[in-house]
């Protein structure tokens, strides 16, 4: 341990220099913004969020986002209102099914994280940060072929299927180390700056759940005037209880950022969350329905006996959702910074749809940025984000929130973030 620390300090000294010497033109619009704060704050997963700040300190942060493509907060409030008054009836559920977009089905997902960061620079070119946090991912899809029976009936169409319906959720505890190497300026004192980020996280899975159809085409459900037939088989996989020592995993994160400070531009690419988690002791349950009848009474009898049966205990590898994001920033003037980032879609477990964030940061007071933005894509369509913070040499405070898919009551998703940091 002592040797490692000695090597680190020596390397820092070799790379060392005064960060202040990484100067930019005073005429650049980016000039008033602290180095670590030039990178726009994100409501989404960003493992390099704090290590990019070139000062020693610690940050406590938490954030979450969740969205779906069907119900908004007003709908949820209506469900709760009716349910609290024992007035939620079959017809209300039938009405709500009309909210599911045709041809799409119901999709939704979310993520959450919270933890502590401690880190800082070693010289002018290297920053290293350590983090411990908890994180959760979740996503679900209810195929339109499964919803259509109750939403539209079987007057025009008699065959249905579970299709691609599935759901998955994972909660983890993580400890990570990330580093950023700053190169440049290339050419001149105001030349291009390149930042290379890399890091890894050791992951302990805490809770996990998954549900899916076991039949490759989702099975079949046929309802005609003469026949009720179903061939469906589903599986659930879950951790039976909260346990810390259930498995482990490793995730790797990478970042490449290029800045043209004199021109006020920056481009960035990030690939994060590359890795998987291995879990043991998962309970696997299945449920099978194989029915062909002409009698509703027989259907009711079968439904009364349905139950997920425990089959076995299994081990499983879960691939983490890979995050690929491209971002660009521009400093229009000394007050306004514009950012755009695109998070590419991920089609595996915890499906991530394509999402584009367009943001603006207004520094009417240099240390108090106001952030306004829109989100396009994701599960919810159009959304709005806003935030406010205090960013100084020694202090960081951030509040940010998003109303996704609409404003306030009409939003079908929400996001929020809080950060509090102190730097020395």
């Amino acid at each position: 341990m002592k040797l490692a620390l000695t090597v680190f300090v020596a390397a820092a000294a070799m790379l060392g220099g005064d960060l202040a010497a990484q100067g930019i033109s005073q005429s650049s619009p980016a000039a008033p913004v602290g180095l670590g704060y030039q990178r726009a704050s994100h409501l989404r997963f960003d493992p390099f969020r704090h290590v990019m700040i070139p000062h020693w300190g610690f940050v406590v942060s938490a954030g979450a986002s969740a969205a779906n493509n069907t119900v908004n907060f007003g709908d949820i409030g209506a469900f709760m209102f009716l349910s609290d008054r024992d007035s939620l009836l079959i017809g209300d559920v039938l009405d709500a099914l009309g909210l599911v977009p045709k041809g799409v089905g119901v999709t939704g997902g979310g993520e959450a994280e919270g933890g502590l960061y401690l880190g800082g620079p070693f010289g002018r070119r290297l920053s290293i940060g350590f983090s411990v946090q908890g994180r959760g991912y979740g996503g679900f899809t209810l195929d339109d072929d499964a919803v259509a029976l109750l939403r539209d009936g079987n007057g025009a169409r008699q065959e249905f299927t579970l299709g691609d319906s599935r759901g998955e959720a994972l909660g983890t505890a993580e400890a990570g180390v990330h580093a950023v190497v700053r190169l440049g300026p290339v050419g001149s004192a105001n030349g291009t700056h390149v930042s290379l980020g890399f890091g890894g996280r050791y992951i302990r899975p805490l809770v996990y759940a998954r549900g899916r159809s076991l039949l490759s085409n989702g099975g079949t459900l046929v309802l005609t005037g003469d026949t009720i037939a179903a061939n469906i088989e589903v599986e659930s996989l879950n951790t039976p209880e909260f346990e810390f020592d259930r498995g482990s995993g490793i995730a790797a994160d990478f970042l490449l950022r290029i800045e043209w400070p004199a021109s006020g531009f920056a481009l960035e690419g990030m690939v994060a969350n590359l890795g998987k988690v291995t879990m043991s002791g998962l309970e696997r349950r299945t449920l099978k329905v194989d029915l062909a009848t002409t009698s509703l009474g027989e259907v009711n009898d079968v439904l009364d006996t349905l139950d997920l049966q425990l089959q076995e205990t299994v081990d499983r590898d879960v691939t983490l959702p890979t995050i690929v994001r491209f971002s660009g920033s521009a400093w229009a003037n000394r007050i306004l910074q514009l950012d755009v980032s695109a998070t590419l879609p991920y089609a595996g477990a915890f499906e991530i749809p394509l999402t584009v964030d367009l943001g603006s940061t207004w520094r009417l007071l240099r240390a108090v940025p106001l952030r306004l933005g829109v989100v396009v894509g994701g599960h919810q369509g159009l959304g709005y984000t806003a935030g406010i913070g205090v960013e100084t040499r020694n202090f960081l405070l951030q509040f940010a929130a998003g109303s996704l898919g609409g404003l306030l009551k009409n939003a079908s998703g929400a996001a929020g973030r809080f950060e509090l940091g102190f730097f020395f």
């Binding site: 008054r85 039938l94 005609t224």
Partner: protein, 416 residues
């Protein structure tokens, strides 16, 4: 400054939460919220029943036989008659003939027509068999001559009424002649039971059994009377004990070959069925949203009769005896008609007939079906097939195939 900024930021957030309050003010607002997807019609086509109804299930299977031609026959409880030989011969000589008369009261519980009782009550029985089994315990043969079976209506005291000559007052036919069934061996004029032996003969007794059945179904008391002459012994040396007897077992069987009037035979039934078992609020909401409910039933009639049915129903279990049709809260449906099949002169259907019945239920009518149970009253008019002169037989193979489905259209969402 940092503290003041933090306070301001927290206040903004709180204000945001209040402004963003998501719960509606009223139930109507909540329902309008959930219906914001727009009004739509949801149509469900659901099978209700696909079944084969065997007519013989209307009868008690423990009392039903099938004749060689496949026609169902309902058995009476076997009746026993017994004539003592030994004690009688104490007063007569061997080889002499003695007059015998034995009667056996028949009660209504001796025959069970199940759910066909009303149909039988209002029809003419064309065919019935009487199995006559005689067991002779004596060591000498017995010859029964001029032995006839007849039916009498018992008097108020339960006795066999007699005419001025002491002859039982048998039921008579339309010409006034007593309805009698002679007990004879095939091709013979007498019936012989060998010594220590059993003899059996099947007698055609359609008209006699028809009168007997109608007396029983109308609540009258009746007896079968066997009267005639018995001759014991022959030229050989025979041994007869004082306890020797001739025991007779009568097994009557009504062959379900009946003639019903062209205007048909009507009877009523109540049946209690399971409803959808929705609670009251759910049921009322479904009814409010009902655009249409159309019940289509295809019936293939593989019997020799046509049927017209009036149906009325009401929520709840009102039992078998309630008159649903007189209740003010009843829901009456349009008449269901199963076409009369074409039958031959023997009463057999030439080919099956198919009918399609379509009934449209209103919301109020459908409401009765949504509780836990409902009672349906059926007024059934059973009609003869065409071409058979009103005659029809009920066979073991007779069945009605019913395929029924309902198309329900419900309104969902709120008009925008």
């Amino acid at each position: 400054m940092i503290v003041r900024s933090t306070k301001a930021i927290l206040s903004l957030f709180a204000l945001g939460l209040i402004v963003g309050g998501c719960e509606p003010a009223t139930i109507t607002d909540a329902r309008d919220q959930l219906g914001r997807g727009g009004e739509r019609i949801v149509e469900f086509l659901i099978p209700v029943v696909d079944t084969v109804f065997k007519v013989e299930t209307l009868l008690d299977s423990s009392r039903v036989d099938t004749t060689a031609s496949g026609v169902l026959a309902v058995r009476f409880t076997p009746q026993t008659l017994s004539v003592g030989i030994g004690d009688t011969l104490a007063f007569i000589g061997v080889g002499d003939s003695i007059a015998i008369e034995e009667s056996q009261k028949i009660v209504s519980s001796d025959v069970d027509f199940g759910d066909l009782e009303d149909a039988v009550r209002n029809s003419t029985i064309n065919s019935a068999n009487i199995l006559f089994v005689a067991a002779n315990s004596a060591g000498a043969p017995v010859v029964l001559s001029d032995l006839n079976l007849g039916v009498v209506r018992l008097d108020a005291a339960g006795n066999v009424p007699r005419d001025a000559f002491g002859v039982p007052a048998y039921e008579v036919d339309s010409l006034g002649d007593p309805i009698l069934v002679p007990v004879v061996d095939p091709g013979q004029t007498t019936f012989t039971v060998d010594s220590a032996a059993v003899s059996t003969v099947t007698l055609p007794g359609g008209e006699l059994v028809d009168y007997l059945v109608h007396l029983l179904l109308s609540g009258d008391s009746a007896s079968i009377v066997a009267a005639g002459t018995m001759t014991v012994g022959d030229a050989g040396t025979r041994r007869i004990n004082a306890s020797d007897r001739v025991s007779v077992i009568l097994e009557l069987a009504v062959v379900l070959d009946i003639t019903i009037p062209d205007s048909g035979v009507s009877f009523t039934r109540n049946t209690v069925q399971d409803g959808l078992d929705l609670d009251s609020e759910d049921a009322n909401q479904i009814v409010d949203r009902l655009v249409s409910a159309i019940l289509t039933t295809e019936v293939t009639n593989r019997t020799s009769f046509g049927v017209e049915v009036d149906i009325a129903f009401t929520a709840g279990d009102l039992g078998e005896g309630a008159d649903i049709f007189s209740r003010p809260d009843r829901v009456a449906l349009d008449k269901i008609v199963l076409r009369r099949p074409t039958v031959d002169t023997a009463g057999l259907a030439v080919q099956p007939s198919t009918s399609t019945v379509v009934i449209e239920l209103t919301g109020d009518q459908a409401r009765q079906l949504l509780d836990e149970e409902f009672t349906a009253g059926l007024r059934i008019l059973m009609l003869p097939g065409t071409g058979g002169g009103g005659r029809g037989v009920i066979r073991a193979a007779d069945e009605v195939v019913i395929n029924s489905r309902v198309r329900i259209r419900l309104r969902a969402g709120t008009s925008q």
